[in-house]
Every structure is written in C-alpha cells, then in structure tokens.
Amino acid sequence: MDKRTEKIREIAKRLLSEGRVDVVLGYGPGTVPLRNAPLFARTPEEADRLVWDSNCRVNLANFLPRTSERVAVVAKGCDARNVVGHIVEHQIKRDQVYIIGVPCQGMLDPEEVKKREGRAIESAVESNGDLTVKGPGFETTMKLGDLLRQNCLTCIHRNPPVYDELVIEPVPEQTGLDRYADIRELLGRPDGERYAYFKELVKDCIRCYACRDACPLCYCHVCFVDEHMPQWLGKSIDPHDVLTYHLLRAFHCAGRCTDCGACEAACPVHIKVRQFTRMLEKDIQDRYGYEAGMSLDKLPPLSVYRPDDPQEFIK
C-alpha cells in the first residue's frame, strides 16, 4: 500500500473518531481503470476505503463551498491552494476545514496511457513508480513519470503551502521549468493565426460545462451561461457562443486559478481549456506578481489594486 494511502486513512480515522470533523473528503477506489472516485468518509470504517494514487485528478476543494459541516479534505498542492482561495473568498471558514496535505508527484493523464497502449485496458496497477496495465492478452508496464498531465509536468507547488497536517515529508519542488513556453510561442504568432488556433481548439465543445462544474472556482449560484435577462450567450454549439463561453469562464478564473487541471481532466472531448486560464495565470504573474492560493492573508489580484498598476495600453 502506498505510504500516503496508509497515512491518509490513519489521519482520517483519527479525526473522525475524535469528532474533530464530520466528514473526510478524499478519494476512494474507482470502478474503471485509471479513474478513482471522490469519497465522503463519515465513519472510521468508511475511512478505510480511502486511497491515494496517480488518479486523484478531481479537485476536492470543489465540494467545500456551501457546506455547513466540518470537513477534512485530502489536498494536493494545487487543491490546497484552492482551499486557501475558498477561505480568502469567504466560501468556508478556516476553522471549519482541516487540510490533509499530500505532497504530490503528479497525476497521470489517461490519454498519455492510451497513446502508449492503444488496446482496451481492463486493469491498471501502480507500484514503485511504474504503471502496469492489463487487457485481454496483454500486459504493459510504463514509467509513471512519463504519463503525467501537462499541468503536473510544469507544477511548481507540489507541496501544499497551507495545511493542517502533511501525510509525508515534502517532496522536492520542480525548479528551472519554462512553464509558459507554448503560450509565449502562441503570443509570437500573428493575431489571425491565434484566432484560428482558438477556434479550432474549442470546435469539439459540447457545452456540457464539465470544465466549469469540475472547477472549484465556479461556485456562483447562477452562472452567466444560465442568465437570461439579459442572456449573454446562446445555448447552441454556434462557434461564437462556444468561444464566448470559454473566454468568460476563463476570465472568471483570473487570479484564482491554481492550474489544478480538473477542468481538462473532466472534459469528455479533450479540449485544452487550460490554454485560456494559463495565459491569464502568466499575465497575472508578470503584471502583478501574484500566485493564487499561496497565503491566507493575500487577496486575489482582481480584488485589490495598486495606484501604479501598469496601464501602458490606456490612452
């Protein structure tokens, strides 16, 4: 058993039996390979089903807003930063949430697995940094490190910056990464090409809103897509409506997004929706030197200002 799984269970059982929290929000086993399921453990027995593996792509901070319970949440670096975001945005109180921080070495991208093993996978087992997948008449072993999601490859906060307890010693952070090479490359192209790129990027969108619903930042009672007086965008798959949706969704995440990748992991048609949010993330770092969710006493960049903020494009 993974050391982290063991420790998560131990902490969860302790918190539940001591009555510290009402529920422990973690991951339980999934019913299909390369997928696990959010688990709401309310008893120490249920906590025995908690697991940790490389499929913890769902961001559990998503379940915190509007809860009245005392919650312990199993959180990777990015998830913990979203919990911090919720606290700063008054979606949950600090003393209502117990952060079980999990230093993370990245989650795998099932599409990467599929690229390497195209046959139908019926089971997948992780051990010692390897992933072994099996199907009818075959067994393939791959290095987990080769299968990581793009946001995990460029992650620089694998350890939760804020936590109540860490399940293992912090893992070394990745340094010297060029996180935005592709964004810079895109920005270097003519605007017409960029427009064509983004039109193509979202052309398969089916407007299921899974990217929004999987995102911890999207907790509005009424999302702009559901507003009808005025109605900001049509509900069809007209390319303009689709692009408008993605632009406004991304903008609503500006300065709050931790690049956790839950949106892309949820997308049924594999749209790289992070191409929108990452540009904003980069822009905010460049312009305001801010990173989301790193501290409990820093407000998001759109909630504050400096008199000397850059304004080179304003006449």
């Binding site: 559901d226 798959i237 048609v269």
Partner: protein, 342 residues
C-alpha cells in the same frame, strides 16, 4: 434475403458502391478518439465504440427547427417557417448494436401515443443502419442486462459480423435489403459463415461479465424507489455537469431557443440536460428539482423506472458504458442500479 458475405478486402469497394446511392458515414479515427464521419471508402472495423453516441445523426446537438423574418416591417414578420429538410438517403455503417437499440427506444419517445417528432423521424426514415456486432465487448459494457446485447438486431437494418477474413451481412429490414442490393455483387453466406457468426455471438455474450439486475426495480413502485435513501449518497459527489447526458445514446432532452441576428431569426433546439438546475426552473423562481440529489435521481429514475413504465417495458439504457467511462467522478450507473435493486 439471406445472409451475405463481403470479403474484407472488398470493403472499400462495398462502401464506394453504397456511396452512389447514399451518403455513407462510418467510424473513423480522429485524434485519439473514434467518431462517425464521412466514410470515403474507409472505416474502422476493429474499434470498441465511439466516444460520443451517434445520436447526433438524428438529433443534432443544435438544430434549426424554424426560421423567420425578424424585420418588423416585412409582411411575413415573425411568422415561423419550416426549413426544408435535407433528406438525402444516408447510410451509417458500423454503428454498434447498443446504439441502434437506443434509436429503437428513442423511436418510442419521439413518437408517443399522440405526437410524432418530425425532425427525428424525417432523418430516421432517410437513414439506413448497418450495425457491426461486438466481437470484443468492453469491460464496462452491460448491454446483456438491459435488454440488449453485442449482436442485438433491434433498430438495425443490417447486422454485420466481422468473421476475420470476411464480413457477414445479415439484412434485417426492407431498407437493409435495398442497401445490400445497392452495394452490388455479394456472395451468399454459407453454413460455415453462419456457424462462425453464431459462435462469435455466444463468445461475445459470455465475455460480458458485468451484470445488473432489474427485478426489484421493476417490482417496486415509483414512490418506493424515489424515496430510497441511497440517492443522497450518489449525488454527494456528482458535479451536476452534463457529461453523462451528452454522451448517452438514449438521453434525448432538449431546450428550444429563439435566436435573432439582424433580420433573420431561427428557432433552434439544443441538447439539454436534467443535471442543470435551469432545466426545471419556473419563471416564478420555484424549482421542483432544486438540488443535486433530485436531479441525479431524475436521470436514473427516468431511465430505469419511468421509461420502462411508459414505453412497454423498454429500459432507457442500453448498457453502452459511455457514462461509466466518462463520468469525471466515477458515478457508475451499474452501481446506482444495484442500489436501486438492492
């Protein structure tokens, strides 16, 4: 008409000759996924299933229903006009039996005891379906539990079975026979081919180990199932996104929207999802399904209780497993039905 045999080597010619009478579509590899697209003499035979169901051939995600002149001064201002339907004969090659069964279920929904949805049936009638039997069902398939199967014929015009070197073509309807006639010279299938198709069927059916039972669901009343306490537990992790409904071959709910740009207006219908709170929101602000639990419950009750009650026992699920694979939080319909049946 008897079963026919098509040499696999001649598949491209077969599709091309069909192309003279039909627009032919089939499963194609696109990026990492299988999708239905124009066949152009080439389709996949060794695929499991398409990521999205082919329901969009009959129920496009967005479909113009009417158009109107939005110029208030015009004589025909704001009068809805039907759009001429594009009814060129189409042929879908290689859809899976579960998806065809889904169309058969939807035929009963789009055509109820009083009304007939012309948009659905226009396209259904203009389309011939050649299904491809599943020799290797996926681990998530549970079709055999819900009145379907890897070689199920309902809803198809022709069933094709991949025999290795050859493809057996079994015409099931007049439409199917017409298509095979249009395809030109095909040899009659011999006893051996029929026997090996049968053996493949048995093997495929027995390879489906994933089962759900429906006996108690059928026995229980609507209220017993509705008031059961497992719904809150299922709903707890649901994101209320619409992935399951949009990838589902039997999900058929829609919204009707009017769109005006300049002086042209359209009334469009779009896929809608019972997972959305807006789906049932009254103008007054009241919502009969106000929470996640009631919305999640609706989806499963609709498929496994309401549709069987109202449509002669047909289950509103064909066991294709798409929602199982694609739910971001792994809500497995098989587990939900097991809870309903517990």
């Amino acid at each position: 008409m008897a079963d026919m045999i098509l040499k696999k080597k001649a598949l491209a010619d077969f599709l091309r000759s069909l192309g003279r009478s039909y627009q032919v579509f089939g499963p194609k590899q696109e990026g990492g996924e299988v999708r239905f697209g124009p066949a152009d003499g080439e389709v996949l035979l060794d695929y499991q299933n398409s990521r999205l169901s082919p329901k969009e051939f009959f129920f496009p995600q967005s479909e113009r229903m009417f158009e109107f002149n939005a110029d208030p001064k015009a004589e025909d201002a704001f009068l809805l006009k039907e759009r001429p339907a594009n009814l060129r004969p189409r042929l879908l090659f290689g859809i899976r039996p579960c998806d065809a069964k889904a169309f058969a279920v939807l035929d009963k929904i789009y055509g109820n005891d009083q009304y007939t949805d012309t948009y659905w049936f226009d396209k259904r009638e203009a389309t011939t379906l050649i299904g491809l039997a599943c020799n290797r069902p996926c681990a998530t398939c549970f079709c055999t539990s819900v009145g379907c199967g890897p070689f199920h014929e309902e809803g198809l015009d022709v069933l094709a079975v991949d025999l290795g070197e050859d493809v057996l073509l079994r015409p099931l309807t007049d439409k199917g026979e017409k298509a095979l006639e249009a395809a030109g010279d095909l040899a009659k299938a011999g006893k051996k081919a029929a026997a090996s198709a049968k053996a493949l069927k048995t093997e495929a059916e027995s390879s489906i180990t994933s089962r759900v039972d429906m006996d108690k669901v059928n026995e229980r009343t609507v209220m017993e199932l509705f008031e059961a306490d497992h719904w809150a537990k299922v709903a707890q992790r649901c994101l209320n996104c619409g992935v399951c409904t949009y990838v589902c071959p039997t999900c058929h709910c829609f919204d009707i929207q009017d769109e005006v740009s300049g002086q042209i207006g359209d009334r469009v219908r779009n896929w809608d999802s019972c997972m959305s709170w807006l789906f049932t929101q009254h103008g007054t602000g009241h919502n009969p399904r106000p929470d996640k639990t009631s919305r999640v419950r609706q989806r499963f009750m609709h498929k496994f209780k309401y549709i069987p009650l109202k449509r002669g026992g047909d289950i509103g699920c064909v066991g294709c497993g798409r929602c199982v694979v694609q739910c971001p939080v792994n809500i497995d319909v098989r587990d939900v039905v097991r809870d309903m049946n517990a």
